[in-house]
C-alpha cells in the first residue's frame, strides 16, 4: 500500500513494493468479489433461482455483444472521473462528498462554453469545453477547501451543503440563461439547454469497434484511463503526491517535516474538483448533446463507492468502475431474463463494498506488519487526532 519506499538498501529478488501492493490489492479485490458473489448466490438460492442463471444473465448482458461491452464502458466512464476525484482527496486524508455538486456545476459551465464559444474550431472547442468543466468543478471545490484550511470547517459538512446549492444552481441555469428556446408553440418538451454545436461534442469511439451508437461509447473513456495513470503518477512520483500521503497518513510528522498542510489540502481539493468536473461530460457531450433537466445524478456518490472498490488506487478504480458498470447493467438483465428483482444488484453492490473494506483491512494490516518488519519509519503518530489548521 502506501507505505514508505526506498528503505530497502539490500534489494533482492523481492518485487518492488508498488508491485506488491498492486498485486495484493488485486487479490484483495478478487477475494472480496468472490465472497460477495457467494453471499449473493445464497440470496438467489433463497429466492428460489439458480445463481448460475442469474450471474450468467448479468455476464451475457454485458459481454454477449459488442454493444453490451460498449454500454458497460460508457457507464464506467463517468464513474472513473468521480472515483478518481474522491480517491485523490482521500489520499490527503480528506473526504470529498462534494463530487456530486462539483460535476453539476461543471455541467453548467461546460454548457455555457459549448453554446457560447462556438466560434472555436472543432478540436479546440471541445478541449475548451472540457477545460471549462474542470474549472467549474474546481471553483466549486475551492469553497470547501478554503473553508477547511482557513476556518477548520469539516469538508464533509461543507461539501454536502455545496451539493444542495449546486442542484439549485443547475436548475436556475436551465430555467434561465441556458433554457432551450426553440420549441414550437404548445409543444411539451423537457426542460433543457439548446443543443450544442457538433464542434463541442466528443467523438463516438464505439463505431470503430462495431458498437451501436445507442451505447454512446466516447473517447472520454480514454481520457479517463489517461487521467487515472496521471493521478497514479501524481500520487506516487510527484512531490505533491508524497506530501499528500504524508498529510493523509501522519499529519503530525508531515507538519514536523515542514509540509504546509493547508497548501497541500487546497491543491488536492482543487485537482479533485477538476477531475470531478469531467464526470458529467459523458452525458452532455456524448449521450445527449445538450444539458437535460433529467440529467443523471448521483454519479458523485456512486464514485465514492467505486473509489472504495478500487481501494483508492487510480488503476484499481478503472477496473472497479467497469465492475460497477457490469453490475449496474445487470439491473436490466435480471428483469428481462430472470425472476429475481433488480434490487438484487443493489444488494450485491452493498455486500461488495462491505467485503472489500473488510478484506482490505485484513490484508492492509498484513502488508503493514511486513513493512514495519522492514524497519520503516515509525508512523505511530498516525493515531494522533489530525489537526486541521491554518498553515500557509
Amino acid at each position: 500500500m502506501s507505505g514508505p519506499r526506498g528503505t530497502k538498501l539490500v534489494a533482492r529478488r523481492e518485487p518492488a513494493p508498488w508491485v506488491e501492493s498492486l498485486v495484493g490489492q488485486l487479490l484483495a479485490l478478487l477475494a472480496s468479489l468472490l465472497i460477495a458473489l457467494v453471499a449473493g448466490a445464497l440470496i438467489v438460492i433463497a429466492y428460489g433461482e439458480s445463481p448460475l442463471v442469474v450471474y450468467g444473465a448479468i455476464l451475457r448482458f454485458s459481454f454477449g455483444s459488442r454493444t453490451g461491452v460498449g454500454y458497460v464502458l460508457a457507464i464506467a466512464t463517468p464513474l472513473i472521473f468521480s472515483a478518481l476525484a474522491v480517491a485523490l482527496c482521500f489520499k490527503g486524508g480528506m473526504f470529498n462528498i462534494g463530487v456530486e455538486g462539483q460535476y453539476l456545476v461543471a455541467m453548467v459551465t461546460a454548457t455555457w462554453a459549448a453554446l457560447e464559444l462556438d466560434v472555436l474550431p472543432g478540436g479546440l472547442h471541445v478541449a475548451v469545453v472540457l477545460a471549462f468543466a474542470m474549472l467549474g468543478g474546481m471553483a466549486w471545490a475551492a469553497v470547501p477547501a478554503i473553508l477547511k484550511v482557513r476556518t477548520g470547517a469539516h469538508e464533509v459538512v461543507t461539501t454536502i451543503m455545496m451539493n444542495g446549492i449546486a442542484i439549485s444552481l443547475l436548475s436556475w441555469a436551465l430555467n434561465g440563461p441556458l433554457r432551450f428556446t426553440n420549441a414550437p408553440e404548445g409543444q411539451n418538451v423537457d426542460l433543457r439547454s439548446d443543443p450544442f454545436p457538433p464542434t463541442a461534442l466528443v467523438g463516438d469511439l464505439g463505431k470503430l469497434f462495431g458498437v451501436s451508437r445507442g451505447a454512446h461509447l466516447s473517447w472520454l473513456l480514454l481520457l479517463g484511463i489517461a487521467l487515472a495513470v496521471a493521478v497514479w503518477f501524481l500520487i506516487r512520483r510527484m512531490r505533491l503526491g508524497y506530501e499528500a500521503r504524508a498529510v493523509g497518513q501522519a499529519p503530525g510528522s508531515a507538519r514536523a517535516g515542514g509540509i504546509s498542510i493547508g497548501a497541500v489540502q487546497i491543491k488536492l481539493f482543487l485537482i479533485s474538483g477538476a477531475l470531478a468536473g469531467l464526470t458529467g461530460m459523458q452525458q452532455i457531450l456524448a449521450d445527449r448533446g445538450y444539458l437535460p433537466q433529467n440529467y443523471v445524478s448521483q454519479l458523485g456518490f456512486t464514485g465514492i463507492a467505486v473509489a472504495f472498490l478500487g481501494q483508492n488506487h487510480p488503476i484499481g478504480i478503472v477496473f472497479a468502475a467497469i465492475l460497477w458498470a457490469i453490475l449496474a447493467r445487470g439491473e436490466s438483465a435480471l428483469q428481462l431474463e430472470t425472476d429475481v428483482p433488480r434490487e438484487f444488484v443493489i444488494i450485491l453492490q452493498g455486500i461488495l463494498i462491505m467485503t472489500v473494506v473488510i478484506v482490505y483491512q485484513v490484508t492492509h494490516r498484513r502488508l503493514r506488519r511486513r513493512e514495519l518488519g522492514r524497519a520503516a519509519i515509525g508512523e505511530q503518530d498516525a493515531a494522533e487526532p489530525a489537526p486541521v489548521g491554518a498553515v500557509g
Partner: protein
C-alpha cells in the same frame, strides 16, 4: 483500533449514500387474467420510469392499460415484458434498446424522459413500433432531436390542464373556503400545466380564492420524495389550506399522510388514488385528476395489433377521454358537486372555457 475504525467510517458513509441513492421502490409484475384467446402475433415491452411498478401513480396507470389489453386478448400475457429504470434513470435508453433487441413489436416508454432516446434508437428498428407516454419524441428537429418523420413512433400526450381545471373547481366547490394548496413535483412546464389548470379551475368557482403552491424540487428525484412531500403538505395545511392537490408522482404518498394528520382533504393525480391508498387515507381523497395513461396504452396496443398504428403525436384531452376526474369518494364528492363539474366539463369540451397551460397566464 482507532485507526481501523476510522478506516471503516467513510465506508459506512459511502454505503449509506449508495443505499439512499438507490431508494426503495419495486413490486412485481401484475397478473392479468390472460385468456386462451389472445393475439399471439404481437409482443409488447414496457420500459418503466423511476419508481417502477407500485408507484400507485404513473407507472401503475400504464400497467393497468397493459393488463386491460391482456384481459381483452389484445396481447398474450407471456408475450409481455416490463423493465424498470434504475434509481437515477440512467439506463432508460439502454432498457429501450434491450427491448428493441429482444424483438418486441411495440415498445412503450412510460414517461417523457424516454423521448430523446427513442427518437435516436427507433430508426434503427424500422419494423418495430415505439410509443412514449407524455413524450415529444416525434417533435424531431423542431425540438432539436436528431430524427424527423419517424413512421414507427408515437407520442401519447394529455391535456392535464383540463383535468386539473376540474379538480380545482371541485376543491373550490367542496370547501367553500379561502385557501387551498398545490403540491408539485419537479419545477418546470410539465407540472406547470397541472398548476395552471388547477388554479384556473378554483378561480373559476371563486375568483378570490388563494392557492398556496409548493414544489418539491428541481430534479426528477422530486417525484420520489414522500418525506418532503409530507413536510410541504403539512406546511400548507398549517397555513390554512383546506384541500391540497398533488402532481408529484410517488412523493404524493406524503400528501396523504399529511392529510390524515391534519384531518383535511387531498386530491390525487394520474390514477384514481382513492382506490390505491390505505383505508385510513381513503375517506380523505376527495377526487383524483385522472390521466388516462391506461386508455392511451390500451389504444396503442390495439393499434399495433390491428396494423393501424398512428405515428406522430396523439393528444388525449377531455373530449378524447384522455383526462377526467374520479367520482369514487361519493361521501365527500356529493352529487351536486359532480353535476356542476360535469357541466363545466361539457363547457370545456365545447370550447366555452379555455384552460390555460402556463401558471403565468392564470
Amino acid at each position: 483500533m482507532a485507526r481501523s475504525l476510522r478506516a471503516f467510517a467513510p465506508a459506512l458513509v459511502a454505503l449509506s449514500l449508495v443505499a439512499a441513492a438507490c431508494g426503495g421502490d419495486g413490486g412485481a409484475a401484475g397478473d392479468g387474467g390472460g385468456g386462451a384467446d389472445c393475439n399471439q402475433d404481437i409482443r409488447v415491452g414496457m420500459a418503466l420510469d423511476i419508481g417502477g411498478l407500485g408507484d400507485k401513480s404513473f407507472n401503475d396507470a400504464a400497467n393497468r392499460g397493459l393488463q386491460d389489453a391482456i384481459a381483452d386478448g389484445l396481447v398474450c400475457e407471456e408475450n409481455t415484458e416490463f423493465i424498470e429504470a434504475d434509481a437515477t434513470g440512467s439506463n432508460r435508453d439502454a432498457n429501450v434498446q434491450a427491448l428493441a433487441d429482444g424483438g418486441y413489436d411495440l415498445i412503450i416508454g412510460v414517461g417523457f424522459a424516454f423521448s430523446p432516446g427513442i427518437n435516436t434508437i427507433a430508426p434503427d428498428y424500422p419494423e418495430q413500433f415505439f410509443a412514449v407516454v407524455d413524450g415529444f419524441a416525434t417533435c424531431g428537429t423542431a425540438c432539436d432531436l436528431p430524427n424527423d418523420d419517424l413512421t414507427n413512433v408515437t407520442d401519447l400526450t394529455f391535456k392535464e390542464n383540463e383535468g386539473s381545471f376540474l379538480v380545482g373547481a371541485a376543491a373550490a366547490l367542496k370547501c367553500g373556503c379561502d385557501t387551498i394548496g398545490f403540491l408539485g413535483g419537479q419545477t418546470g412546464p410539465l407540472i406547470g400545466k397541472f398548476e395552471a389548470g388547477y388554479v384556473a379551475g378554483a378561480k373559476y368557482i371563486n375568483p378570490d380564492i388563494e392557492v398556496l403552491v409548493e414544489y418539491i424540487g428541481d430534479d426528477t428525484s422530486a417525484f420520489n420524495d414522500p418525506t418532503k412531500g409530507q413536510a410541504l403538505s403539512t406546511k400548507m395545511y398549517d397555513q390554512g389550506a383546506e384541500i391540497i392537490y398533488h402532481a408529484a408522482g410517488a412523493s404524493g404518498a406524503g400528501l396523504f399522510n399529511a392529510a390524515v394528520e391534519a384531518g383535511k382533504l387531498a386530491i390525487g393525480v394520474d390514477s384514481d388514488q382513492y382506490q390505491l391508498v390505505s383505508a385510513e387515507q381513503q375517506p380523505l381523497v376527495l377526487t383524483s385528476m385522472l390521466k388516462r395513461v391506461d386508455t392511451a396504452v390500451y389504444d396503442v396496443i390495439a393499434q399495433v395489433g390491428e396494423g393501424s398504428f398512428e405515428p406522430g403525436a396523439q393528444v388525449f384531452g377531455l373530449a378524447e377521454e384522455g383526462v377526467d376526474y374520479s367520482k369514487s369518494n361519493t361521501a365527500e364528492l356529493t352529487e351536486d358537486i359532480v353535476a356542476r363539474l360535469d357541466e363545466i366539463k361539457q363547457m370545456i369540451i365545447d370550447g366555452e372555457i379555455t384552460v390555460p397551460e402556463d401558471p403565468a397566464e392564470v
